[in-house]
Symmetry: C2
Subunit: 496 residues, 2 copies
């Protein structure tokens, strides 16, 4: 067992450095004073380099090779070697000089993007994006792929997923939901969103989020809730999974749904045993599966009628102006469907359209079928096709997301996959627990969380996404569940 | 300049690791959830090991040796080489096996101490303390000394200080202040402490501390105030000097003085240029000098009559129950003199006595003149001699401080030196700025802080403590200033 011990020891050392790095990054967004940012960047760079050195060391490479040949490993150990090996080879695949040039292009790209967005001037960002696309295309060649270069970039976010498969998944979604959205607009009775209009003290919203996280089973004994400009969840270590959130004075629920979303991610992190952290399996089965856990809590539960029957008195307790609004009105108001220009403001019906267009554009870029110069026009066309709206300028269009400016191609599909996995898992959940609605309405989240623990959380990254979904639902990813869910729910809300 | 560049680069790398380590340690006391503690200890251990490896590397040793022979270094560079060289040699002096055995004895010692203190049972701690004393005696031999082994342990806290010198400093303090304390008790008119009795909401005390720190010039743009079980200041990096504090519901001023004390430390850290951080000179001239900055703000300023004339309306704003108490009554109430069993609760007149007895006992232990077994009896005797009080049990006596359980001998004198330096610096300050009292009474702290910046802060660790004091006051450390200050102030308060 010598090699296995060495392997685990190296992962242990990497884990300590990554844990420190996570804390520094978390603090950077939460408590760090502005004047500390230069020194923080240096310290983060140092930790990242040390971690990278260990993660690409010959010693680790030898362990992986030896362990891959062994058949006496536990399921967890084998999964760890599979994933760590995959990451090791990807990191070794890129020549160090090329990677360094890429990191420079990334930081220049982000700066140019921020400026371009502020000025709504895509031309200012275009040369940077061209370079980043070029790097990504080179990387794809180094990583290798079976079908298209883009598949090599999808891999780290959704191992095993391909663009061919994604296109298949998208087909029925598009076919069913584009007309459904048109029907909602044409024939639907929209909820009264005005019941949520007002001014709601941020400190009360914060306390409401704190309490809501407690209610859904988030454990503050191994976590913390802090303010940050953008909500995120960070797994600093086993026993330390923190959430950040932000609140809008003129919106009583955006902070609440932020907390529920991050709470879903955090329950996943808190539901994994220490062993998974030690074996570097604590990132979960894939980005899409992780997102499914946040979407399930945020949407399948948090935007459901039983939840609002339960939550109505609680929101009234924290935000007394809303005490007189009944549960049904609240439920309807948090489920307004409205084609928006901005992805992060999208509702359940329209969200995936934002992803589809990004996937189509970025895969065409990487596969060499589209030029960067054509992006703005293609973006606006696609928005019109999917959502029937067009941005006034590129700031609200092709420049709205940070991802491409960081050279992160292949990330966007995870958001859509999260929605689809969530719906499919929720179907299985409802079949297993026919009383779920009554439990949620009674404020009893324990059965829900126990079920997620048993079916999803406890495995961390042991099973691949597709295998995990098959274990839970008896079939591979199937967009039908999402379509049924959305059409059913919103036909009711919009009285179609 | 090749070697100097290498030297600075190594310090830079050490600095990044130490910065990360400081943040992890700060978070451990402030935001970390309980379940994260095991992983945190691992991550801290890793960072500490990496820092130690760099700080004891042959490459750094060679740089130090070459740079020590050069005469073209700037004052800052020369001071850096002097201090880094001293630390390097100390760290290299101890055989690694011995040091590892010591760290184990430290953690066992702390556990045994905590248990012994809880049970008020010194015998439970005695064998651990004997081991720790034995390690310290061995270390002293490795470090080397001119006069007594204890001097080798004083060195890292107060470079250049010796026990012979300390004894000389203590003589007049003892001669003057023991009878003065007796006179206060026998003939003094005590202030009415009851004006501060009541229940004071912690959140209002926290806001008052926040505001007070702002008033004295603490910069939140390069700092932060957080709750922690014990107040401390931590220099995470240039531009990031944080304070923690704690508040007692039944004491309206302990949190306030905690904030002023830490504020004094933090102003020192915020008053040093980036260059000092990069050269590892940001710890200040010595522990005693650092403590002088906290004591000056806490006592010389915060417990002064002009301060309370200024602060009276502010305390009333945050703690309305106190709005009716006049400035003079508040000033007197925060200056009650009362021999206490516990060091950290001691007033300005009695505090140094607590240090004298610890210094006498620990130096005797290290120099082999006293056995650990005799400590409790010697402690109680000394308390009676200095303060006229005796603890009921060892929890309130010899077991009250954590320092010895960590093997930290030679630390205590810094607290007393801080008081003495503060009084001596304050004498010079008042001579330089005859309007100081009027400025403080008007709430104008800018001239005070500018003076401290110019005379103390900007130099960080460039000048040694004794040199710095001589530069500022024209003479070496002289306890007379403290005696005059205390006798003058408390003769007035106690109407002697």
């Amino acid at each position: 067992l010598e090699t296995l011990d060495t392997y685990k020891a190296i992962l242990g050392e990497i884990g300590k450095l990554r844990s420190a790095e996570s804390l520094l990054a978390w603090d950077q967004q939460t408590h760090m004073p502005g004047a500390g940012s230069a020194a923080r960047a240096d310290a983060l760079g140092k930790l990242s380099r040390l971690g990278f050195e260990l993660a690409t060391s010959d010693e680790l490479g030898q362990c992986i090779e030896e362990l891959e040949a062994r058949d006496d490993l536990s399921d967890e150990e084998a999964a760890s070697v599979r994933d760590v090996g995959r990451q090791y080879r990807r990191q070794k695949a890129i020549p160090p000089d090329l990677f360094e040039a890429f990191t420079i292009a990334q930081s220049k790209g982000q700066a140019a993007w921020a400026e371009a967005r502020a000025k709504a001037d895509f031309a200012h960002f275009r040369p940077n994006l061209e370079k980043l696309v070029d790097f990504a295309r080179q990387f794809a060649e180094y990583y290798g792929y079976e079908d298209t270069p883009y598949d090599a970039l999808l891999e780290p976010f959704e191992p095993g997923m391909t663009s061919r498969r994604l296109r298949k998944i998208i087909e029925p979604l598009k076919a069913e939901l584009v007309p459904f959205l048109e029907r909602i607009a044409a024939e639907g009775t929209p909820p009264d969103a005005d019941v949520l209009v007002g001014s709601f003290p941020v400190n009360m919203q914060r306390e409401m989020s704190r309490r809501t996280l407690e209610i859904i089973g988030y454990d503050y004994g191994s976590g913390a809730l802090d303010d940050a400009p953008h909500p995120f969840t960070t797994e600093i270590a086993h026993g330390d999974v923190r959430i950040t959130n932000r609140y809008e004075e003129d919106d009583p629920v955006s902070g609440l749904f932020g907390a529920l979303h991050e709470g879903g991610h955090a329950l996943y992190g808190q539901g994994m045993g220490e062993n998974l952290y030690k074996l570097s399996l604590s990132d979960g089965a894939s980005f899409g599966i992780h997102e499914s856990q946040s979407r399930l809590i945020e949407n399948q539960i948090g935007r459901s009628r039983p939840f609002w029957r339960f939550f109505q008195p609680i929101i009234g307790e924290f935000l007394p102006q809303l005490a007189g609004v009944d549960a049904e009105a609240l439920y309807r108001a948090v489920n307004v469907v409205s084609p928006s220009l901005i992805r992060v403001e999208a509702d359940e019906v329209t969200y995936n359209f934002h992803i589809m267009l990004r996937f189509e554009l970025e895969s065409a870029l990487i596969n060499g079928e589209t030029a960067v110069a054509d992006l703005p026009a293609l973006w606006n066309d696609a928005m019109q096709r999917y959502l029937g709206v067009s941005p006034n300028d590129d700031a609200d269009g092709v420049l709205q997301d940070v991802h491409w400016s960081m050279g992160a191609f292949g990330y966007f599909p995870s958001y859509m996959l999260g929605n689809l996995y969530a719906a499919q898992v929720a179907t299985a959940l409802r079949a297993d627990r026919p009383n779920l609605d009554a439990e949620i309405e009674a404020g009893d989240f324990e059965p829900l969380v126990s079920w997620l623990r048993e079916k999803v959380h406890q495995f961390g990254g042991v099973h691949r996404a597709e295998d995990l979904i098959r274990r839970i639902t008896g079939e591979g990813l199937n967009a039908k569940h999402f379509i049924d869910y959305v059409v059913g729910k919103f036909s009711d809300i919009y009285r179609l």
